[in-house]
Symmetry: C2
Subunit: 337 residues, 2 copies
């Protein structure tokens, strides 16, 4: 219908293509096609809004993974922010800056990935913007969710003595990125390397878990792990006016991580403690809630693990090695500038 | 405090810098600093949401104008979308992708321009994202406004026989861009050239006018003129299931436009009829509302002019030259791909 390149499609053809791929909000709401989208927030709910911009050469390299997964991930990182507040995803907005000659098949694959992720999380595409780019691909997503105000969870409620919990396993995504950067290609299906690479390329936002934890009223603070556990825990500590102690030997690691750890001269604690992009949840709760929280983990099928303790040392995040010594983290998180 | 470059400032230093420059939403709302912003929509209002992404080398050239005006414009284009719905601006989100070594003074100037525009329109910065860019500067803004549902104006309500109105004057911004692209520098203060260039670099979003028109209940459809009058009127016609006839001799032109028109071999009708980025409003209304609408123009101090008539010819936008012949527009609007 459109030929194979963006220039035959044109801007309005691209908008039509997007519109056909996503179910639209229905009246009295209004999606793509006017100056602004019109949305109806549910009465009595607060809106939670987050935005992330992904730039080629900074956040992703198209040669490292399929475009479909890039589409999935660009919504996943935003869904993960809503998960960390316990909010229910409702709508998202998509802005694409596309280099001239960008292959139409690539755009379609990105849209397919976005549509899969949106459907999985009940989130409607309500608008956006498309334009050219003189350089690489830019994907900017703004997501909006809702929750009753009493149930929303922020970064600022942690109290000294609280347990520090994490969901799932840590370090897989950072290990997967390490493998991708060494140009490993053709990873065997079902291999440990394939697993950790997929954790980097196709992270699972913990939306249902975040909502269940928020609704349970059991937890005091929450954040998603995008910059690495220690860096993100640092944000919680600063906002809550406290500190944290993390026991590295307790960090949950996947069988694949354990299998691959042997290729490092030393055990790669830094990947589990400070590696980014796992998009697991880190939350705090009083110790007396331990059994009830374990129950939430069981009901959602996602392992939840206590990995440390909130302390009184303002802003200080200490990580303890298995031998009792202090872990010296490498520069944590990605440095943008 | 920070040195003069982005790399000494760092990502969190930049976020702090942004936070100090913009008043933040106050409890129970939550702005910058958590996984998502938390906003409280007014009861009974619909949300209007729009997003625009501006990319260096596509939408702007930093050598053509001061960074402060770039900041003003990046919010103005979004405010203009809300103006066209009659919505009242409330919050915006700002994503910046910045090349390494981007001058700190440039960032501060962009933020100053954004803050001026936000203050003028009572719009709070509630969140955003900052990251590096391997190429040019990217500014992505998502804006949210509110209005009671009955007062919101869409593109789809125009009816055959309605008058077609525009606000302000047309063609200035496109003429200003023409002058900028010819590398005119050092334009004399108060000159006609300086005026039209400023209309391109620093457009005025017609928010108050859009709200007054919406509240008046007098109008049937509205759009902002970003792609050129004829192209934008085409959107209204397609959404409303009608056509349009535009009389070029009625198009309101500024004294500066008239003064500069003489440098073209022919009178530059194409700039007034099809030039982009004036960010004026185009709206439709039944002829019996003419006097009342003129009153709204008088009250807001913005000239409003009838420039044509809605017709029954679905999707057909005809522009009539002063001699009665049909205007043949050049390819209208900017082609992105």
């Amino acid at each position: 219908m459109y030929g194979s390149s963006l220039s035959t499609l044109g801007e309005f053809g691209l908008i039509d293509l997007i519109r056909t791929r996503f179910p639209q909000p229905s009246p009295p709401e209004l999606g793509i096609g006017d100056d602004a989208a019109l949305l109806v927030p549910a009465p009595g709910r607060q809106l939670a809004v987050s935005t992330d911009l992904l730039a080629e050469g900074v956040h992703f390299d198209r040669s490292c993974g399929p475009d479909r997964l890039l589409g999935r991930k660009s919504l996943a990182v935003n869904l993960s922010d809503l998960a960390a507040m316990g909010a229910v995803p409702r709508w998202f907005f998509l802005s694409l800056a596309l280099p001239a000659g960008f292959p139409l098949a690539g755009i379609e694959a990105i849209l397919d990935g976005l549509a899969e992720q949106a459907t999985d999380h009940g989130c409607l595409l309500a608008g956006g913007d498309t334009c050219g780019s003189k350089s690489g691909l830019v994907i900017s997503v703004t997501i909006m969710g809702e929750q009753v105000p009493e149930l929303l969870v922020t970064r600022s409620g942690a109290r000294p003595g609280d347990d520090i919990w994490v969901s799932g396993t840590l370090g897989d995504a950072a290990l997967g990125l390490t493998i991708l950067m060494q140009n490993h290609t053709g990873l065997a299906d079902g291999s440990a390397a394939e697993f950790v690479v997929s954790r980097h390329l196709d992270p699972t936002p913990r939306c249902r878990l975040g909502q269940r934890l928020a609704e349970s009223g059991l937890i005091s603070a929450m954040i998603d792990i995008s910059d690495g556990l220690l860096a993100d825990l640092g944000h919680v500590c600063r906002q809550s006016g406290c500190g944290a102690e993390v026991w590295l030997k307790e960090l949950p690691r996947s069988p694949a991580f354990e299998e691959l750890a042997g290729v490092f001269p030393d055990y790669p604690w830094h990947l589990a403690a400070a590696g980014g992009e796992d998009y697991e949840l880190c939350f705090t709760a009083a110790p007396e809630q331990r059994a009830a929280i374990a129950g939430v983990g069981k009901n959602t099928g996602i392992p939840l693990t206590v990995v440390g303790k909130v302390t009184r040392s303002f802003g200080r995040v200490q990580a303890i090695m298995p031998d009792g010594s202090l872990f010296q983290p490498p520069a944590s998180g990605y440095t943008h500038f």
